[in-house]
Amino acid sequence: MMQKEIYIQESPRQWKDFIAHYLNLDIRKYEKAFKKFNRGGLFLFFFFLILALFPSLFAPYPPTERFVSYEPPSVAHLLGTNDIGNDILSELVYGARISMMVGFASACISTLIGLMIGLCSGYFRGTMDELLMGFTDVVLIIPKIPLIIIIGAFLHPSIWTLILVLGLLSWESIARVVRSKTLQIREAGYVKSAQCMGFSSFHIMASDIFPNLIHVLLPKFMLATASAMISEASLSFLGLGDINMKSWGIMLSFAFSRGGFIRDMWWWYIPPGVCITLCVMSIALIGFGFEGKDENGKRGVDAE
């Protein structure tokens, strides 16, 4: 048994061990959780992820290639063609990348900002805390979608603006969660002793507090992704997206503005809607999985 541990220590050959060893992130702990939560969610998510990463493997045609417009589904075009003759299936497959990119990129931004602000305000407390949390409260009450519409109108409404704006506006809840968790952790003995031993604040935040925040950050990150995807779809549906980047929301928007609905072309407007819902659901499910893991971990008896 003792030997086993040394084996891990000396030859981190397996990647999980490697990560656990060098990045202080023991994935093996999460494995159980991964297996516990809805496999369906995980499966769906990876399905969409592969779509997004390798669209050319799944899409029968390039998304901009034009055929006869308004074709119903056929063997050549499994989901028919749209108003300008693009193959809807191909568009759908390529749309996954855009939609998910918006989701993940803006979630990255918001998680990063939320983490910084939450950490600083929770760790330093005092005036810093009051200022940062006051600022957070202000951001919290800003109505997001209308603001994005206004900003989008005067900035160039590209997908990057959208990502930036969504990211910059949705970190408040993450900051709050991180802050409360940080307040809790900073009272722990290992933080106190690190302070005692003269580690810098930055070092303590990065190496003692941050790793213990991961299990709250991950679900928050996933939920932020899901909500960014929904925001993107809503904005695109209102016709304010970037039409160069054909996300699922833009597809829906076109399906409605260009007669897909009038002509009963359900194969045009149902699939992007279903994709948005399923993708968001799978991400949310994974998020819940992470959350559930934490709760399970704290229960149980002292069975050492």
């Binding site: 901009t64 409404p157 016709g239 970037d242 039409i243 609905f261 009038i262 819940f288």
Partner: protein, 591 residues
């Protein structure tokens, strides 16, 4: 104690939260995907008025109706027409003509709401009208004459006209209306500035307007101003903000009885004092729908008889579906408006004529016509003006020829010297065209982007909602933009679309970016003549100018398609207002 803990335990909370989020997700999904359904399946009268994109408008309207804003105003009844209204409604059991429109009326302001102004032609007809050939003829006026120097216009009124409260229509009403518009509305301020004097003659029932400079298009202008009853409106100080749900006193075959914003409809009732040809329908109702989709559903379900949109056609993609119901026929008429690509003439490289010429060759018109109009349109000429307009001149057809475009560009000094596949401008930097579009023209923008790429021009699409578009366009912050002209827009100023380009003008839809003296002179010449032959000469000169200089590149000429229920016959269209004219309503009869 364990039980107590379990009661509010994390299990229950987690489960609850999960279901809550599922249901929120589903709701968001549903509300995204089926706004049209939701509205469509309700009783059509129930839907709230809202604009095309506007969930916010919808909310605002709803809140307004909650606050009772409309109700407060409707109670202060200013018009004497109520009595007439009551008489009328007592015996009305005749047929109802229902018209669907996507032009939503946002406020019950008779003068302030432009959409309402168009529909009010039925109750308060203007002095003049346009016949189906595009000639201007009298409507309330029996005839008119104009002095030699084009400054003095006299209109002779018909003598069988009565307001719906029984009062006769007098020349004073006309004089009051025109002056009232000039004073109180921004869009008719030219009247205030140029009208020198006006006189009224009770003897021959005429009214004379004297202008301080030659003004040749007065007969056209007066085909758009609704005549108001002076005895009612003279007490209203601020008509742009005045709202009232009706009834309004009118002198047409119908008068506007009710503006019902909550139910989304206008109700016109027969004018009991109308002495002309009696219309068959007792009531005309205009139903407005938040989107074309909803209007289509209403048509399909037989809830409305026809579809009308000022300066617009019924959605081409919906025609096939309506044909399938077997209840509808279609009137197809060439529009005198068109969709065009407007370059920013004030900014390089679009200020360069050769560059514009090259762009004109880079566009695949056939494909745009096919995809955008589904065959209900055709490739335009370089001369801009569509063939239905008076004095149309057959100029050269626009042609898709990317090679030629590249050749012209190269000759004009735009070349790709750094070899990155993108042409450089005269300043040596890569050209990046900014194409500003409203969501309506998103697809056209996409296609254009692709065409330009083929000739080595990089471009960038920028979508903006209508209000932002107006702002950016007026600040000249674009390289190219896609927009359209309306029938009235084509006729305004010196006609033949000149009003869109003349840099001396302002207005919502106009580009006002052409200050070439040659063009400005032409406009002034046209404005100063009423002689048909002279006009013909100037107009062909103008069209040649367009063809040569391309201040705008027309993308397609389209047809206005109007579906109508086969039960009704006797439709009449004019180029200006389509089917919405007195002739239609007077002649319409059930089969």
């Amino acid at each position: 104690m364990k039980q107590i803990k379990g009661f509010t335990g994390p299990e229950l909370k987690k489960e609850l939260k999960r279901w809550l989020i599922y249901s929120v997700l589903m709701t968001i999904f549903c509300s995204n995907i089926c706004p049209a359904w939701a509205v469509g399946t309700e009783d059509s009268g129930e839907n709230l008025s809202a604009s095309n994109g506007g969930i916010f408008d919808r909310i605002i309207t709803y809140i307004k109706s909650l606050l009772g804003e409309e109700n407060v105003q409707s109670s202060e009844n200013v018009s004497g027409a109520s009595t007439a209204g009551m008489q009328q409604s007592a015996g009305s059991e005749g047929t109802v003509l229902k018209i669907a429109t996507p032009s939503v009326i946002k406020s019950a302001s008779f003068i302030g709401d432009s959409n309402l102004g168009v529909f009010a032609h039925l109750s308060n007809p203007p002095l003049m009208k346009m016949d189906s050939e595009g000639h201007l003829v009298g409507q309330l006026a029996e005839s008119y004459n104009v002095s030699e120097n084009n400054t003095c216009w006299t209109f002779y009124l018909r003598d069988d006209l009565y307001w719906s409260d029984g009062e006769p229509v007098t020349p004073e009403d006309v004089e009051f209306s025109i002056r009232y518009y000039g004073k109180k509305t921004p869009w008719a301020s030219w009247i205030n500035e140029t009208l020198e004097s006006s006189t009224v003659s009770g003897v021959n029932n005429s009214v004379t307007f004297k202008f301080n400079k030659p003004y040749t298009r007065v007969n056209l202008e007066f085909a758009t101003y609704n005549i108001l009853p002076a005895h009612i409106w003279k007490t209203i100080e601020n008509p742009m903000e005045y709202t009232n749900n009706g009834p309004y006193v009118g002198c047409g075959p119908y008068y506007l009885k009710l503006i019902d914003l909550n139910a989304g409809k206008l109700v016109f009732e027969k004018n009991p004092y109308w002495k002309g040809k009696a219309p068959e329908s007792e009531t005309v109702e205009v139903h407005f729908y938040s989107s074309v989709d909803v209007a289509t559903l209403a048509l399909e379900n037989g809830e409305v008889d026809t579809y009308y949109k000022y300066a617009g056609s019924y959605s081409y993609s919906g025609i096939e579906q309506l044909e399938k119901t077997g209840n509808f026929d279609f009137i197809e008429k060439t529009d005198i408006g068109l969709v065009f690509l407007a370059p920013n003439l004030k900014k390089a490289p679009l200020s360069d004529e050769d560059f514009r010429d090259a762009l004109a060759y880079a566009i695949n018109y056939e494909e745009i016509v096919n995809l955008e109009t589904l065959g209900y349109g055709k490739v335009p000429n370089r001369g801009f003006v569509p063939p239905t307009m008076e004095n149309f001149k057959e100029t050269e057809k626009l042609e898709y020829n990317p090679e030629k475009a590249r050749e012209i560009l190269e000759k004009a000094g735009y070349s790709d010297s750094n070899g990155n596949g993108v042409l450089e401008g005269k300043d040596g930097k890569d050209i990046k065209l900014e194409i500003l579009i409203r969501p309506d023209y998103a697809r056209t923008g996409e296609l254009l982007e692709e065409y330009f790429e083929q000739v080595g021009l990089d471009s960038d699409l920028r979508t903006a909602d209508a209000d932002t578009w107006f702002t950016l366009k007026d600040k000249y912050e674009y390289d190219l933009t896609v927009t359209r002209s309306t029938p009235w827009g084509m006729l305004m100023h010196a006609s033949w679309g000149s009003g869109y380009f003349d840099s001396r003008r302002t207005g919502q839809g106009v580009m006002h970016n052409l200050d070439d003296p040659e063009f400005l002179q032409l406009c002034d010449d046209i404005l100063a003549t009423t002689d048909p032959e002279e006009l013909d000469g100037y107009s062909s000169e103008l069209q040649d100018y367009y063809a040569e200089n391309l201040p705008a590149i027309p993308l397609y000429w389209n047809n206005v398609v109007t579906p109508y229920n086969r039960h009704f016959e006797g439709w009449y269209t004019d180029p200006l207002y389509g089917i919405y004219n007195l002739d239609t309503f007077l002649n319409l009869h059930e089969v």
